[in-house]
């Protein structure tokens, strides 16, 4: 158990001394996952709302696809995105493979089914008569969507947390499309894998703890928003 203790000491040392590389990796991790989650929310919430409210041909097919996507292994997402972005792939000309943008794309693909699924469930759980009332009060489509999103906000914050939690903790996709290049695409998860495999277990533990703290702080902030809105 000594390495665990040493790992915590090492983590503490790294933070105290403000290790430049660790800080950089942490900020990059946060940036990539935050952008991926934001884009997933931007596209996923309206999509979830439409799936919750509209009946159309092929809806069941899409919902089944979303539900499957909610449990998709990140490494498979990484593989598919990588195939598209490789130099020889269909989008190879964009030169995105092994860039933070590629990682955002892969993480977006992982997060979006979670956001769609949670949004759909939370909007579906609203009283259907409330929807009629809002329409009868004279809301246009955009106003209706906005008010429903506001009504379902607790569920939508859960969608945010689920999406962000999934992408900040995944390693497979980031490794495959990012390549874990020091100073460019190295994030907390891929760095943890690398350091641990090199035998630097203390640093691995330090990075792992860092990741947990980061996830905790983000969720703390979101939960704060959620509970505060609840109180007003």
């Amino acid at each position: 158990m000594e390495f665990l203790w040493n790992g915590l000491k090492e983590a503490f040392n790294l933070w105290i001394h403000g290790d430049a590389e660790i800080i950089e990796i942490t900020l990059r991790t946060l940036a990539i996952s935050a952008v991926a989650t934001a884009v997933a929310l931007f596209i996923g919430v309206p999509t979830g709302a439409v799936l919750a409210l509209k009946q159309f041909r092929g809806r069941r097919f899409i919902v089944a696809l979303v539900n499957t996507g909610m449990g998709m292994p990140p490494v498979v997402v990484g593989l598919v995105v990588a195939i598209f972005l490789w130099r020889s792939g269909p989008l190879g000309g964009l030169n995105l493979i092994f860039t933070p943008t590629a990682m955002v794309i892969a993480q977006f693909v992982i997060a979006v089914p979670l956001v769609v699924g949670f949004s759909m469930a939370s909007i579906q759980s609203l009283n259907p008569r409330l929807l009629e009332q809002i329409v009868a009060l004279g809301a246009n489509r955009l106003q209706l969507l906005w008010l429903l999103v506001r009504e379902a906000r607790l569920g939508l914050l859960a969608a945010l947390m689920a999406g962000f939690g999934a992408v900040i903790s995944e390693v497979g996709a980031s490794m495959m499309v990012g390549g874990n290049i020091a100073g460019e695409t190295r994030v907390l998860t891929t760095a943890t894998v690398l350091e641990t495999s090199r035998g630097n277990i203390e640093i691995g533990i330090a990075l792992g703890v860092m990741l947990l703290v980061l996830a905790y702080v983000v969720n703390l902030v979101v939960t704060g928003v959620q509970q505060q809105r609840r109180a007003t």
Binding site: E132, Q133, I134, V135, L137, G138, N140, Q143, E151, T232
Partner: protein, 390 residues
């Protein structure tokens, strides 16, 4: 005298389609609506007058809510026209909806503060921000819930929430108010208090109102005009007294509460008094007041219009052309019904004409009658409403 004869309130009479169309705020023409292959609404021509409270009554499943949902543009009719001020409502549904406001059975408030609920609705109509708060507070005050303005909607009781919901609808200052059984989910004292306030506020505004209810008392209290909808069909339109005292047909009579409906054939008519023979009793002749008596008629007589006397034989009156009718009857059953007692009888020589009479408890005790007693029933010639029944 002023020539104000065609003001909406004073001219409120007549049946479906009889009103001048230019007086109609809302008009439905040839509206057909089906659900699941079944036609649930077929309205040939229905005009709802400007500034009036039209109360739509009918049994469950009669299409009342469907009618309202069509006016709210929440469901589209299969065919026909919905007109607001003579223009099709569906040309610009959003603009139409913004001229109307709706309140449902359940107070459907947004999960935010009470005042914010009203302000949000005003925001949907693009009311300037500065005006929203003042209007919200004014209408919350009119409905007696200004003190709750800062509360969260979920902290309200059912009555309070419905007051907020009504305040929100009135704050929009709509031309038309559409109300789907707004009082039916409330307990009796809460409902009475709210209906009193609501009636007063309605009286002070000019808003054209359509209220759906299955409660006859609500209709009697609030309506300028009553619309009876049965099986998706408008059976009668008229002022409350006309609809309740003179139902247009058997189904309307059964719904509005005239419980004695007998079929009869005309024997003779003389100076406003028509003599009929009941089809179920060959020696039962009745005189009724009818200017233009139909050959075959249904008589509708409200149970409270009939009196009972505890004697077996009709008293022979000095004047046989008297305006009172007497029939022998046998008591079949006595039921308590709230403050009154309903006595079921079999009238006529064979006792085969079902009659229901309502009495107060003291008068039942005075009569000392029980099941099997022989009595005489009496009613005025003017108490029987004669319905043409060919």
């Amino acid at each position: 005298m002023s020539s104000n004869n065609d003001a909406p309130l004073s001219s409120a009479r007549g049946h479906a389609g009889r009103q001048p169309p230019n007086d109609a705020k809302i008009r439905l023409r040839d509206v057909r609506l089906s659900r699941g292959g079944r036609q649930v609404l077929h309205v040939d021509d229905l005009s709802l007058r400007r500034g009036e409270v039209s109360v739509v009554i009918g049994p469950n499943g009669s299409g009342k809510s469907t009618l309202l949902a069509a006016l709210q543009l929440l469901v589209a009719p299969d065919s026909g026209e919905l007109l607001l001020d003579g223009h099709s409502m569906r040309d610009d549904p959003l603009a139409t909806r913004r001229r109307m406001a709706s309140v449902f059975q359940e107070a459907l408030l947004l999960s935010t503060g009470v005042r914010k609920n009203v302000e949000t609705a005003l925001g949907l109509h693009k009311v300037p921000r500065a005006e929203r708060r003042e209007r919200a507070e004014r209408w919350l005050d009119r409905f007696g819930v200004a003190g709750l303005a800062e509360r969260h909607a979920r902290e309200l009781s059912g009555g309070e929430a419905q007051r907020v919901s009504l305040a929100r609808a009135f704050a929009l200052e709509p031309e038309v108010l559409l109300l789907d059984e707004p009082f039916s989910a409330l307990d009796a004292p809460t409902r009475e208090a709210l209906i009193d306030d609501f009636a007063q506020i309605l009286g002070e505004t000019e808003v054209t109102t359509v209220l759906i209810t299955h409660d006859r008392d609500e209709a009697l209290r609030l309506a300028d005009s009553v619309v009876v909808l049965i099986d998706g069909d408008v059976r009668q339109v008229g002022p409350p007294a006309e609809v309740f005292g003179a139902p247009a047909d058997e189904a309307v009579a059964a719904f509005v509460g005239v419980e004695n409906v007998w079929s009869a054939t005309l024997l003779r008519a003389d100076r406003g008094v028509a003599t009929y023979r009941l089809d179920a009793c060959s020696d039962c002749e009745l005189d009724v007041a009818a200017a233009d008596p139909p050959k075959h008629a249904l008589f509708a007589i409200r149970p409270e219009e009939i009196t009972l006397a505890a004697i077996a034989e009709p008293r022979v009156e000095e004047q046989p052309t008297s305006a009172r009718n007497h029939l022998p009857a046998t008591v079949r059953g006595v039921q308590a019904a709230g403050p009154v007692v309903r006595v079921q009888l079999g009238a006529g020589s064979d006792g085969n004409i079902p009659v229901v009479v309502t009495l107060t408890r003291p008068s039942l005790e005075d009569l000392a009658i029980d099941v099997g007693s022989l009595v005489t029933i009496t009613f005025k010639a003017t108490a029987a409403h004669v319905i043409d029944h060919e």
